[in-house]
């Protein structure tokens, strides 16, 4: 039987779709998902709000692959 303990966190490449500066949350299109986005992903507070421009690349650390609320945008780049 497979080891059924909780799987490790994963890192995913995404595209920033919407930035909510007031709550430091973001909607992110994970690369590979053509039709739907992850909604309201927490964003690392050390990322400057001005850098969160729609269309930029982001790195999402998913502590639980099936719960976007348990994830964080940890990097943004052009």
């Amino acid at each position: 039987m497979p080891d059924t303990s909780t799987p490790p966190a994963t890192m995913r490449h995404g595209i920033l779709k919407v930035w909510y500066s007031g709550t430091y949350l973001a909607d992110v299109q994970l690369v590979g998902s053509l039709t739907t986005w992850l909604k309201s992903i927490p964003v690392a507070r050390d990322i400057a709000s001005a850098e969160m421009v729609a269309g930029r690349n982001v790195l999402v650390a998913m502590l639980d692959d099936t719960n976007p609320a348990d994830a964080a945008v940890v990097a943004v780049w052009v």
């Binding site: 692959d65 719960n67 609320a69």
Partner: protein
């Protein structure tokens, strides 16, 4: 299609076969006819056990009885009829609204709009040969640009609109579409009709027209020749662009458009009750089957629905982003599922190599014979829908199947010394289902018991030492899950773990039922998102890691969820009546002695103190954002610890096959050299082995686990 009368669902029961000695077992009985698919069963009546006939039980407990392994190949993918479409025509025509239906004489009727106010009609008496180039003007110019048709027996009805788009007209044939009545008014819509579809209910002519205006869904029924007033759905939409209706047991509707408020592009299913799966003349609940964000540059349109072996939908996904395409996709329901099964229950979309903007209409000959047609104005393909079953039993020279907690793999070797399997011949084809039954010669002849479904994953010709063998590599339901990924992300916000798994399985073509499911699986509703990149297998394992429940694959592309309990009754005993050839009894530490669940501002733990007192038992950490209290986090930890306890190995026994053995059954055996009392263990893996040469082998290895 739009308007095909529902033809029966195929049902196959796990029947034990009785055949005279030395005779090839006949195929199972022909498909029975069932008007309505069975509703989803949520039984909780204890763990299911595959029961055996008394004569088979007696035979398998005798060391001298002749083994019997029956193997049959069938043209089914998952539980759905395999449709291998063949080309008939691709004559260029204007691409606009269109439809197709199949009258009872096997002819094919197509209708289409030219997009400029004229409806064209084509009836091909012999679809195998055409001709396909002839269309006749069905109406004088000056009509609307939407059209639909349906057929049942000798009746064919064509529905279209007037130039204003609000007046819905009909013409009907009672001679298979050769002659039609004059145009008549059916009803008047409150706003211009954007799309419409028609479906017959009965050979007497009762039918219904479903239609959408810019933002409204409505349906209008004709009973005993009288058109009723349209029934408008109370659902609100931002906009609608397509609709399809078929009659299964009620009027089953698929529609496409834009969701109100969120503006998400969506393919929904809806039902208008005929008193079977929904109350008479009542709309059901909209269920999302495909959805795209408002800014995704993706839209859905041109739905067509039909019910023959199962509910099937064709629709167009138009991707306007760079590199995207406008393409038809096929989705379907498991044959035993009903239209009202809920959201996200259709199989993962399968792309079709047709890029026309108005999609592919769908229709089939009645009674599960003949053909399924997919057509557009410039496209006619068809696929045989007949069930093909081939018995391979007499040629099986070896068979090894390995059933595990989350996999079923193995191979079947077929004697190809005469070249009978060159090709290989249909339906011995990759993707097709295999029916494998284990048995013996008994006092009632050959009796067998069917194991979980498997499908052909690969074929391999092996020639060595003058022997020629075709090896069929096979796999089971878990492997279907491994290959299943969605085109969209699935978000569950208020579904129980059971419901999440039910939908996950359904999208992979499997039908989950419950038998002794844990209360936790039924009641806890986690925030659970399945990203597009995640396989159904990964998602299922993630969901199951929060539960003590297990899922066992079964027949008819089914699976059963159950919670193994320490007090479960023994289902079979070895070593007394049933020979026990070999025993390796192992005792080891549980895989985890402590489980910690870290919730949202909450912590819960579960500890096996006895195991924790022994060095080496590890601790599992779980992230469980769903839990917001210590109690719920502790429940998560408890379920996980129980799950991990079941992972421990307890050795194995080797026996002549118990033909009804399944994973998670509780078995016991006696061996005075090991224990003075019966030894009870749970089955966590099964190796089935049947070989005719070089040495005849017929045995079963049961991998044992904790109870």
């Amino acid at each position: 299609m739009r308007g095909t009368h529902g033809t029966p669902t195929t049902t196959r029961q796990d029947l034990q076969q009785r055949v005279p000695p030395g005779r090839i077992p006949p195929p199972p009985p022909p498909p029975t006819q069932q008007r309505s698919p069975k509703p989803l069963h949520f039984g909780r009546s204890g763990h299911p056990v595959r029961t055996l006939a008394a004569a088979l039980t007696t035979a398998q407990q005798s060391a001298t009885n002749e083994p019997r392994v029956d193997v049959t190949a069938e043209n089914s993918i998952g539980a759905l009829r395999r449709l291998d479409f063949e080309f008939l025509d691709a004559t260029a025509q204007t691409i606009a609204k269109h439809d197709v239906c199949v009258p009872g004489d096997g002819s094919l009727v197509r209708v289409r709009s030219d997009g400029a106010g004229t409806i064209y009609y084509q009836r091909v008496a012999t679809p195998a040969s055409g001709p396909w180039g002839t269309w006749v003007a069905f109406t004088p110019p000056g009509k609307g640009n939407v059209v639909a048709c349906a057929a049942i027996g000798a009746r064919v009805i064509v529905i279209y609109t007037d130039a204003a788009g609000t007046g819905v007209k009909w013409r009907e044939s009672t001679d298979y579409g050769v002659n039609f009545t004059a145009e008549a008014a059916a009803f008047t819509a409150a706003a211009a009709v954007v799309d419409l579809s028609v479906a017959y209910k009965a050979a007497g002519g009762d039918c219904a027209v479903a239609y959408v205006t810019a933002a409204t869904l409505a349906i209008c029924k004709r009973n005993t020749g009288v058109w009723a007033a349209p029934a408008v759905s109370a659902s609100t939409f931002s906009s609608l662009n397509g609709v399809a209706v078929c009659f299964g047991a009620d009027y089953d509707i698929a529609l496409t458009g834009v969701e109100a408020t969120t503006l998400r592009r969506t393919l929904w299913t809806q039902i208008y009750g005929d008193g079977v799966d929904a109350p008479l003349n009542t709309y059901g609940t909209l269920a999302i089957q495909q959805q795209a964000e408002s800014d995704s540059n993706v839209s859905y349109k041109a739905p067509f629905a039909a019910y023959f072996d199962a509910f099937r939908i064709n629709y167009v996904e138009a991707d306007a982003f760079t590199g995207g395409a406008t393409r038809t996709y096929r989705i379907a329901l498991h044959p035993l599922n009903t239209w009202v099964i809920g959201a996200n229950m259709f199989t993962a979309p399968i792309p079709v190599g047709y890029l026309g903007a108005e999609g592919l209409a769908l229709a089939a000959d009645a009674n599960a014979v003949g053909y399924v047609y997919e057509t557009a104005p410039d496209y006619v393909y068809r696929a045989p829908q007949t069930q093909l079953r081939t018995t391979l039993t007499d040629d099986v020279v070896g068979l090894i199947i390995r059933e595990r907690d989350a996999s079923t793999t193995g191979y079947i070797d077929l004697d190809n010394s005469g070249g009978a399997y060159a090709g290989p011949p249909s339906p011995v084809t990759i993707g097709n289902r295999l029916d494998v039954r284990w048995g013996y010669y008994t006092s009632s002849g050959y009796l067998t018991s069917k194991m979980a479904d498997m499908w052909i994953a690969a074929t391999e010709y092996r020639r060595s030492g003058g022997k020629s063998v075709l090896r069929l590599h096979v796999e089971g339901g878990w492997e279907l899950l491994r290959r299943n990924r969605q085109r969209m992300q699935i978000v569950h916000t208020a579904d129980s773990y059971y419901s999440i798994l039910l939908r996950m399985m359904s999208r992979a073509g499997l039908r989950l039922s419950g038998a002794g499911v844990s209360t936790r699986a039924d009641t806890v509703t986690p925030k659970f998102t399945i990203p597009a990149q995640m396989s159904a297998f990964e998602a299922a394992q993630q969901a199951l890691s929060f539960l003590a429940d297990r899922i066992r694959m079964t027949s008819i592309a089914g699976c059963v969820m159950l919670q193994p309990m320490p007090g479960d009754a023994t289902t079979y005993t070895f070593g007394v009546a049933h020979p026990l050839r070999s025993v390796q009894l192992r005792t080891e530490q549980p895989r985890a002695a402590e489980a910690y669940a870290f919730g949202t501002g909450a912590f819960g733990e579960a500890i096996d103190y006895n195991a924790a007192a022994v060095a080496g038992a590890p601790r599992d950490y779980m992230r469980d954002a769903t839990s917001t209290t210590g109690a719920t986090a502790a429940a998560t930890a408890t379920a996980h610890l129980r799950r991990r306890a079941l992972d421990a190995d307890a050795g194995l026994i080797i026996v002549p096959p118990n033909c009804g053995q399944e994973l998670y059954d509780m078995v016991e055996f006696s061996d005075g050299y090991i224990s003075g009392s019966a030894i009870k263990r749970r089955v966590k893996g099964i190796d089935w082995r049947y070989e005719r040469r070089p040495v005849a082998v017929y045995e079963q290895t049961l991998l044992l686990g904790a109870i």
